[in-house]
Amino acid sequence: MTSDATMTALLSVAGLTKDYIVGDLVTPVLKGISFDIYTGEFVAMLGPSGSGKSTLLSILGTLLKPTAGHFFMLGNDLTKVGERELTKFRNRNIGFVFQYHHLLPDFSALENVMFPAVASGLMDDVEAELRATMLLGRVGLSHRLNYKATKLSGGQKQRVALARALMNNPALVLTDEPTGNLDRESAHQVMELLTEINAESGTTFLISTHDSEIASRCQRKITIIDGKVDSIETNPVVQHGLAAA
């Protein structure tokens, strides 16, 4: 874990546990996870299948409640916040990029990106369209603004999903195997974008992945094994993110 005293902990996880209960059967998935993630960091979360990565990511994304422990973000203990407030918090502060893009198929690329801002009333149409156009330009899709999501290639869809995740200027972007569904070329482009945006804007990224090459491009690697933090390593070679923050 980094010890830089000047950095602010965006996310602080303390003794987080999660049990799945089916009838009388209790399956512990997370067994006391603790770590901090600092503003502007670019962090990889590694671990084999079934290690609890996705469950942890879901809890950090406020989509799932932990069984015990605490989880602070921007000074709020999110384990104690009601669902309505969590929904609003998620809209304002957390962006998601999933392995599968999950775009709304009946909407254009521009509308998909505008959606989290306009539908929640955070921005008006004009403001949202300007920002969405800028973001789509940033991910190299200026020429595909009005293309329906279904007409885009896999890589393009994932880039739209990234632009959408950034739309409300979130403090944290959670990504779950963001290149898992892409060919090598597209995967490379998406990773380049993630690192560039992290470096440019200081947006904090937590990337859940199996891919050690992706992990090698991150400043820190948190390895989860069997529901516990196995190791947290810092990669001194990587300069983006913190350096730019």
Binding site: K88, R90, N91, H102, L104, V118, A119, R164
Partner: protein
């Protein structure tokens, strides 16, 4: 709400086939609703018109005076016999006051004073019994549908005029313009000229009924101060029993509504209306089931999209509204299509389903299709039908949906 409407509209437009079928389904339901309304209401109006059109909705008559039997000594059995006064007719004496109060009542369309009694018509040696009805000439059509039934002459009731039925005219071998003698059952008599001959098609009426001028009939029947009855027609037929009770209480006279006099018809009409209501109820239930099941399927199909919207911070209320708006739009559009279709269809039936003699096969009335009620009910039904799918959609677990 604006963005929820946008998403709802986009969902409906993206599945044109399903949306078209749903709108069509609601439309058929509303078409059945409006068609049944037009048919049942038309049928009811026709039956009422045929039966009630020629009779008063409320009749006000003198109360029968029955003398009380005085107490008798113990052991004495009294068997009273009432002998009606043969010279004094039952009559409403303060009829003008009653008439004025009826005219002041906004529920009353028209109130007609009538004098009536039995009498005889004589021509030479031929004598025929008749029922004499005296009415103001301008109100004749309110008492009987004579105008369209006139086959000779005119419905003209001057002081010396009389209108008789075709069968009576034939029995007396008399024609329009000829004079005959009319006698009351109390001996009065007057010469009158036949102004018109009618044929209603009901033997007893065409043979036994004669219409005279109100004033002439009052003189003939020796009713200088009173009248026999007041015939009342209302704007709303269904109010007749209630208003009859009110009139009876306020006038102290004998008041009878058409419902009382035609109980069997009234029961038949009520039965008809109930059957119609049942069919309309089931058409609305069909709309609810159809819309609800289709939208439930949509929630399953859109599960991952709902999940991603929830993960993007859309509230359960947002998702709820997206589906309820779909229900509203389907209901409103379907209802308007159905109501328009029903109007067109009923009009077509009215034009095409006509017998050789010009009468209608279905006494349908396109103006009584209850279109607004159909549109409102279907829209509400469709909205209600969307609530269950909307709740199901808002409860979608975003995690489960995203991991699909």
């Amino acid at each position: 709400m604006r963005y929820e409407a946008k998403v709802a509209l986009r969902y409906l437009l993206s599945s044109k086939m399903q949306t078209g079928l749903l709108i069509g389904g609601v439309g058929v339901g509303v078409l059945v609703f409006c068609f049944m309304s037009a048919l049942i209401n038309g049928l009811t109006s026709d039956q009422i018109e045929q039966t009630v059109g020629s009779i008063p909705h409320v009749t006000i008559e003198p109360r029968e005076q029955t003398p009380k039997v005085l107490g008798a000594a113990d052991g004495v059995v009294v068997l009273p016999a009432i002998l009606r006064d043969n010279t004094q007719r039952a009559q409403i004496r303060a009829w003008q006051t009653v008439l004025d109060s009826l005219h002041a009542d906004e529920k009353v369309r028209v109130a007609v004073p009538v004098v009536a009694s039995n009498g005889f018509i004589a021509r030479g040696q031929a004598i025929q019994p008749v029922s004499i009805t005296g009415v103001n000439p301008e109100q004749l059509s309110e008492v009987a549908a004579i105008g369209p039934a006139i086959i000779k002459g005119a419905a003209d009731l001057d002081l010396n005029g009389i209108i008789i039925g075709a069968r009576l005219a034939r029995n007396l071998s008399i024609d329009v313009g000829q004079t005959l003698v009319i006698r009351s059952d109390r001996g009065g008599q007057r010469d009158v000229k036949v102004r018109g001959i009618f044929s209603i098609g009901i033997e007893s009426l065409d043979e036994r009924v004669a219409y005279m001028n109100f004033k002439a009939a009052k003189a003939l029947l020796n009713l200088d101060n009173g009248i026999s009855r007041i015939e009342v027609k209302l704007y709303d037929l269904d109010m007749a029993p209630a208003l009859a009770s009110n009139f009876a209480a306020s006038t102290g006279l004998k008041v009878t509504s058409w419902v009382e006099k035609n109980k069997r018809l009234f029961n038949a009409i009520q039965g008809q209306r109930s059957t119609g209501s049942l069919i309309k109820f089931f058409s609305i239930v069909t709309i609810i089931i159809g819309v609800s099941s289709a939208l439930l399927l949509t929630t399953v199909r859109r599960k991952s999209e709902i999940g991603i919207m929830r993960s993007m911070g859309m509230t359960k209320g947002f998702i709820n509204r997206v589906f309820v708006i779909q229900g509203v739009l389907i209901g409103l559009l379907g209802a308007m299509v159905g109501a328009s279709g029903a109007f067109g269809f009923t009009t077509l039936v009215l034009e095409l389903a006509v017998r050789a003699d010009g009468t209608l096969v279905f006494p349908i009335d396109p103006s009584q299709g209850a279109y607004l009620a159909g549109i409102m009910l279907a829209t509400v039904a469709s909205t209600v039908a969307a609530i269950l799918p909307a709740r199901a959609a808002s409860r979608v677990d975003p995690l489960e949906a995203i991991s699909q």
